[in-house]
Symmetry: C2
Subunit: 201 residues, 2 copies
Amino acid sequence: MEKDLTTEGRILTAARSIFQQKGLAGARMQEIADEAGINKALLHYYFRSKDKLFERILEEAIGKFLPELFGVWEGEGNILEKIERFVHRYISFVAENPYVPSLILHELTINPEKAGMIRKMGFKPPKDKMMMEVMLGVQAGLIRPVHPMDLILNIISMCVFPVLARNMIQGVMLIDDLTYQEMIETRKKSVADFVIQSLRP
Amino acid sequence: MEKDLTTEGRILTAARSIFQQKGLAGARMQEIADEAGINKALLHYYFRSKDKLFERILEEAIGKFLPELFGVWEGEGNILEKIERFVHRYISFVAENPYVPSLILHELTINPEKAGMIRKMGFKPPKDKMMMEVMLGVQAGLIRPVHPMDLILNIISMCVFPVLARNMIQGVMLIDDLTYQEMIETRKKSVADFVIQSLRP
DNA sequence: AAATTGTTTAACTGTATGGTTAAATGTAAA
DNA sequence: TTTACATTTAACCATACAGTTAAACAATTT
């Protein structure tokens, strides 16, 4: 249980952790209360129901996740520089907030209609910008021609999956915590290299 | 509800589907019974408890997943050919059995200790073989030097993630079913190309 | 001091759900 | 036909859990 923060903050921190580990159905209000160092009555005093609490956490997760995801295309530099910056920032982000993709993945797998929430929150995937950026890179001779959506899927996969599936991969490959931690760290560079190497004309 | 198959088979099919969509905690025995076209009493007649049924499904999933994953390194050909074969086979496999990685991921995220089951089932990741194969490829001038574990993580990520996170990606990127289906299909080649391009010396 | 707000305690309600049971019915083989 | 197994029906039990309530206490503000 956290010492500092307000009670509401401690609840949110606890809820994030529990919901991420167990999902909506698997989480227990009592457990969240325990983790926050309070009791169930107070938990309901702050958040009327489990669903409301979960929705709050999910919205917060999406609100952190998407700007991070879409933001790259706004910055300076050519496509190679953007890729490098994106990979570094994105792996750092998911490594520090592993609950974010995990929650969204689980919830949207169970309940695909909830994707509507994304549009309601005003996010729009910058597909046009992506297309344009890749085309510019090709024309400038910086990269070979590729399908933009394929490229972006590849990059996101390599950034997110190793963090998202950490327990599974460690379990299957028998890798210890420290080694894995270091691997994630080195991947902030190596994934960008891997992509950039592949894009050589 | 399926017409053919034995009752046990229909139960397993139903359980796979429900457990994949909702996870262990979210699944309902009644729902599994309905999907199998039988009643709850008969479901318990075949599988004593939810946990037993789930364990059966999970073991089955791991038993399908790991041989597919580790099998590549046994076949003929140089590393580039193996990568090409692996990507094609692996994406085909996960596309046809999306429940497999989904189940394992969710369960091992919640319950990392269950990774022990993998060792108990006699699977061992062929790390040595992977190392050796990559080193041979480097020595033969087929590929540039890379960290084998990084490479394998990249490949697996690009194969599994787009299928695993399909709902999330479609929701975020606003891609319709058919388009996505086609993308998965083309990725059976394009991912291999992407990797092989990256590995050029 | 009084009022407001945050927090605890502890008991309680209602419901969803896993699991059981027993009796009846169907079905196929011995 | 008898035996054994498969399946249904329908009721039932026990438990876990979300959510409520009321009374008391603590802390802060007015």
